[in-house]
Structures are given as C-alpha cells and as structure tokens.
C-alpha cells in the first residue's frame, strides 16, 4: 500500500502548514508560479474561444499545485518530461510565457518555431524535454535521461509527469521497471485528475491508488494531496533527494482534479456540472495556498493581489508578443529534420561535427551536460 502523506492543511490547526524549510520569498514564488499557470491557461481558453488560437489544447487549471510543487523540488540541470497537458509543467520549469504563447499560436517566435504547438512544446535549454502527444511516452524518455546522468556519473535528476490514464500503458511498466532495476535517478509523478479523457479512472484502474503500483517495482509509492502545493513539494523533495543519493526512483501520485474539459471543445458528457462546481469550490489549489500564506502571516491579501496584477500583465505581454509575431514561412518547412543534414538526410556541410573530435576523458561530463544547463533555476 502507498504511504499517504497527510495534506498540510489537515495538520494546520495545530502546527500551521509544514513549510519544508522554504523561505518566505520562495513560498511567494510558488504562489506566483501557480498564478502564472492559472492566468495563462484562462487566457488561452479565451483566445481559443475567440478563434485567436487553435489546435488540440489541454488546460492545466485546477492542477497547478502539482507542477509547481514538484518543479520547486528540482535543482539546476535537472530535467522534466511532460504530457499533452503540459503548459503548467513548462511554466513551473521556468519557461517564459511569451514564446510559449507564440508556440500555441503556431508562430515562428514560439519555442518550437510553430512546429510543435501545445502538445509538443519543449525547451531543452530549460531541461524541459517536451510535452508529448502520446500518453505515457514520456516515461521511458525520462528513464533514459536518468540513465544518461547515471552512465556519466553526474548528479542530475529526471522528473516525469504523467496522467492516471498513462498508468495503464505498457510504457509505464517498462519505463519504471527499467529505472527500478538500475536504480536510476528519476521521480515519477502521476497526476491523478480522476479522468482519462472521457471516462473516470475507476473504469481503468482495478486498484485504489496508482501509487500502489510502486510495490510492483520495489520502489516507494506515495499518495499526496495534489491541491496542496507544499505537500507536493515535500513528497517530491524526498523522492528527488533519494534519487540524487543513488537510491533509485519513486512513484508519487498527486490526487488532483481538472476544472476544465479534457481539451478545449470537450462537451464533458462524462461528469456533472455540479461535480465540477464542487471541486472548484473545495479544492482550488490557489485558493488553498492563498489562505495558507495568510494564515502563516507571510502575506496579506494586498500583496497577493499585486502578484496577480503583475502576472496578468505578463500574460497580456505574452499574448501581444504571440499575436504580433509572424507566421512561419515556407522556408522553414523542410529545416530541422536532421542535424547537420538536409531534409533527405544528406550531409549539409563538410565541417567536422563536434562528435568527430576526440573528446578527452575528463571533459566528458562537462560537455555532455552543457546543453541542459544553459538556463538558470526554475521557479520556486
């Protein structure tokens, strides 16, 4: 059975929320990150409904505490893999809103030059190994990133987000098992929002918790309240430390709820309006954390309002950036298929690639991790 980490709020009455040693500034940073996700997503929805944005878009509203708490537990150089519902992960990992919004609009100034869109948004520079259109596909990939760190003996950790629906895919089993066998530095975070597209998780999962499957791989399985950002942070931090120490992977299940449809346009035949309204009223992670911050005396309503105003302004700037950016032109249709080669895979230059040089032994780790380290630490 999975270990249940009690939501911080349950113990709040006696001791106040557990802050896991985070400074006031970092706590406010968590709040700001959650709001950035919320306001970004709200705006994306509006733009979609106004047909100023298009594609398959899956919103993260309601789940903000998971990405935010989890990414806050990472260090510079650590990497994440994500899912089709990836905006929150991007923001929590420190990606900027403007090139994100531009990417959702298919603009050339987007992170992927408009070639990826919402489902494939990525920034290796930030250690963000990509949203993914294929359920559970990020699991073997993050295991592989962890394998890379392990082979070269460096200290980074990989963190993998996936949905409850993904826990039934073969890639879940193979990816986690391989990581467990080799004790790779990776943390698997299941975002259990209780639905897989058009049906409730119960239809798919013959047991109570996804986390209980940790036992099948001899790794810790932990259930955490996914609307409590501090609880998520605490559970993930423990797992990240464990991974970094060489003790291997963990499986963390964050119980959460998505307030919006599966994708923009979802008629939501599978749940009632009341159910959603109740969840919004009772388990909004931002409302909860706002209350906690006030209770802890870290912030008053005014300060939080200021943060919100600033975030909204950032989102607006991102929208303007996206909308004013040019459409990609035909000249980039056939680029970026191969590195150092044309669209047919033919070498595009006679230059020696870096790989062809002899790399001295002691420079390997440095060279190898350079790319993923180019950017600073993520939010939180």
């Amino acid at each position: 059975m999975a270990t249940l980490i009690q939501p911080a709020s349950d113990t709040a009455a006696s001791t106040g929320p557990e802050r896991h040693g985070l400074s006031d500034a970092r706590l406010l940073e968590l709040y700001r990150t959650m709001l950035r996700i919320r306001r970004f997503e709200e705006r994306v929805k509006e733009l979609f409904l106004e047909a100023r944005l298009y594609g398959s878009v899956h919103l993260y509203i309601g789940e903000e505490a998971v990405a935010t708490g989890a990414c806050a537990a990472l260090e510079e150089g650590d990497v994440i893999s994500s899912t089709h519902r990836g905006h929150g992960h991007c923001i929590a990992k420190g990606l900027e809103l403007a090139p994100m919004m531009a990417e959702l609009m298919g603009k050339v100034s987007g992170y992927n030059h408009g070639k990826g869109g919402s489902m494939h948004i990525a920034s290796l520079d930030h250690g963000m190994l990509g949203a993914n259109g294929i359920v559970a596909a990020g699991i073997p990939i993050s295991t592989g990133a962890a394998m890379g760190f392990w082979v070269r003996g460096s200290q980074e950790v990989a963190l993998c987000f996936f949905g409850d629906g993904g826990a039934n895919h073969g890639a879940f089993h193979e990816g986690i098992n391989l990581a467990a066998v080799l004790k790779l530095p990776v943390v698997f975070v299941c975002e259990n929002n209780q639905y897989a597209q058009y049906h409730a998780l119960q239809q798919d999962l013959p047991i109570e918790n996804v986390a209980d499957r940790g036992a099948a791989y001899g790794i810790p399985g932990v259930v955490v309240d996914g609307s409590d950002v501090l609880a998520v942070y605490g559970a993930v931090k423990t797992a990240v430390d464990r991974a970094r120490s060489g003790a291997g992977p963990s499986l963390i299940e964050a119980k959460t709820y998505r307030f919006e449809g599966h994708f923009l346009g979802d008629p939501e035949p599978y749940r009632t309006k009341e159910e959603v309204a109740q969840a919004r009223a009772s388990r909004d992670p931002i409302v909860r954390f706002s209350a906690a911050l006030q209770q802890m005396g870290i912030s008053g309503v005014e300060r939080l309002q200021e943060i919100d105003d600033a975030v909204r302004a950032d989102v607006e700037t991102a929208v303007e950036f996206g909308e004013s950016s040019p459409e990609p032109g035909p000249e980039i249709l056939l680029t970026d298929i191969y590195s150092g080669a044309d669209a047919d895979g033919r070498e595009s230059s006679g230059e020696k690639t870096e790989a062809e040089q002899v790399v001295p032994r002691d420079r390997v780790t440095e060279v190898a991790s350079r790319e993923v380290r180019a950017q600073g630490p993520q939010a939180g």
């Binding site: 990497v79 990939i141 394998m147 890379g148 082979v151 080799l182 790399v359």
Partner: protein
C-alpha cells in the same frame, strides 16, 4: 591488417568508439554475453555502466536511448531481432524520429538503434522481418544497411558520430559469412555513398545487404553468357545515393532491384520510383523488383529458401529484361 568477420568488425567499431568518446554507451538485452558476438567483451572492458543490460522491454530501450541522447549522451541501443522493434515503434518513430522537428530543431539526438534483420536461418516469421521500408518512411531517422565487414565497421562508426537517430540494420547470415581484411585503425564510411560492387554495361542490379551477394552471384553466371551486370550496393537508404544509381541506369538502360523484405510497399518500390523519376528516358524496360513475396517467412527450410530471391531468379530476370 587482420581478417575479421562482419560481426567482429562491428565489435571493433563499438570498442574503438567507446574508447574515443565516453559519452558512447551500449544498452540492450543480453549484450553482456552477446548472442551474436557484436558486443562481446565490451562489458569486461567498459563495465556495467557503459554496457547496460536491460530487461526484455523494447519500448523502454528505445525511449531510454532517446532520453539519454537528449541529455547529451551517445547511446547505442540493440534490438536483438529487427522484428522486435515492432514493440517499440512509438518510441522510435513518434518520439525519436520526430523530436528534433517538433522541437523546432532544438534537439541533437545522436542515437544508434542497432538491430539484425534478414532470413535464411529457419527462424520463421517473427524473427526474420526486414523493416527498412518502415523506417525509411519515418522522416528524422537515417537507415543504414552494411553488407561487408569493412563497411560494417566504417558505417557503424559514422552512425555513432552522426547527430541523428540511425537505424543500423545488421544481417544475421553475414555476421559469420562476410569476412575480409578490416583495418584496425580509425576509418569511416560515409552515409549517402553507394558502392559499385561490380562494373557492367548491360543491366544495373541493386541488391540490398545480403542480396548484394546474390546479385554478384547472378552477375557471375551472366558474365559466362556475355552479359555484363553492374552491381550496386546503396549502403544507406536514408540518405540514398540516387546519383550513383541513376547514372548507372542511364548507362545500362535496365534495372533490377533485389531485397529480402516483403515486396509490396517495400523499399524496392521507392527505388523503382526514384529510378523512373531520374532515368525514365533511358529505360528500355520497367525496372524489375525481386523480393520476398508477400508472405510471412515460412519456417521450413525448403519454403524459406523459396521465399528469398536467389541468384538463379535474378539471372533469369536479367535474361528476360534483355530479350
């Protein structure tokens, strides 16, 4: 310069590249005791972190190589038989092949996916499939098919140094039968350069991998009848050296394609298409395609032999073409 088999030559390439660059590492099932000898001895030299044994989990192997490459390593992943890659097509084609493009170019993914294809050893339908056409249909992946020991070493080195996912197809019969002097020093064989294995004026025979031998055997038979066949080994399908092929066909006016994969929608169709596109006006007759018929490989040796193109069939096809 010592004589080496195809499998030994591959082993040399791996060892040399692993010595040269510590980011290069191998992963796969039973690569420590190496069923076909390609990774033999590497575990002893490089240890468990450079020669990583995995569970029987092809999708995880493919994805793990991709993830490791995304953080700066240069993995060489093995799939024991090419057919088993069907368990990993999502990771190979949806993920590895597309990642760079989907990310707007911002990923460098130096991965070699080694595997073994071909029939001829009574392994029946699930251990004989040649899937070069599938991977050729997956932009973002390069496809390599060495047919000699020399090329095996040189192309594998090129594959390891390439900055892209490469599906590197070895051949189960050639492992032991292809044997020649293989230099011990560092050399590479470039991608996208076909080899003319035999010069001739009357017909161009293009044989993929082991079918190159069959083509050469047919050419020998034909030479006795005064027919001079030019035999071309494309060596890599993506990129494809269509120039060499088209130039030859423009000279000979006739083409025969030979491969082991199933005929329908096989790579032979791509070759025919490119040949007619580039040499239509020179052709005296439509290119002829010889392949595994559209049938899963039968177990029985008798039937299996009938399902692989033979030198006699190739020679006969050429005679008919020249009539």
């Amino acid at each position: 310069m010592p004589e080496a088999t195809y499998s030994q030559a591959l082993n040399m390439a791996l060892r040399e590249e692993m010595r040269r660059d510590e980011r290069v590492f191998c992963l796969g099932e039973d690569i420590k005791d190496s069923t076909y000898g390609v990774t033999r001895g590497l575990y002893d030299e490089f240890g468990a972190k450079r020669v990583v044994g995995t569970p029987i989990s092809e999708a995880a192997i493919a994805g793990a190589a991709l993830g490791a490459a995304a953080v700066g390593m240069r993995p060489v992943a093995e799939f024991m038989y090419m057919t088993f890659m069907m368990c990993a097509m999502d990771q190979l084609v949806n993920q590895a092949a597309k990642m760079k493009y989907m990310f707007g170019g911002k990923a460098v993914l130096p991965i070699v996916y080694r595997t073994m294809a071909g029939a001829g050893r009574a392994n029946a339908a699930q251990h004989t499939q040649s899937l070069e056409a599938w991977f050729s249909h997956a932009p973002g992946i390069k496809v390599v098919m060495p047919s000699t020991a020399y090329d095996a070493k040189g192309l594998l080195k090129t594959a390891i140094r390439d900055e892209n996912p490469v599906v590197f197809i070895e051949n189960k019969v050639l492992y032991a039968t292809a044997k020649e002097d293989v230099p011990e020093d560092d050399y590479t064989v470039p991608f996208g350069k076909a080899a003319i294995r035999r010069q001739g004026r009357d017909v161009t025979i293009i044989g993929l991998q082991r079918m190159g031998e069959v083509a050469l055997a047919a050419a020998d038979q034909l030479a006795g009848e005064g027919i001079e066949a030019e035999v071309i080994d494309p060596r890599t399908l993506v990129p494809l050296d269509i120039d060499t092929i088209a130039t030859s066909v423009q000279k000979t006016h006739r083409a025969v394609l030979v491969h082991e994969a199933h005929e329908r929608a096989g790579f032979g169709a791509e070759l025919v298409t490119q040949i007619v596109t580039h040499a239509f006006d020179y052709l005296d007759a439509p290119p002829v395609r010889l392949a595994n018929p559209n049938v899963p490989t039968p177990f029985s040796r008798t039937l299996e032999e009938l399902s692989i193109p033979s030198a006699a069939q190739v020679a006969e096809a050429v005679r008919t073409l020249l009539k």
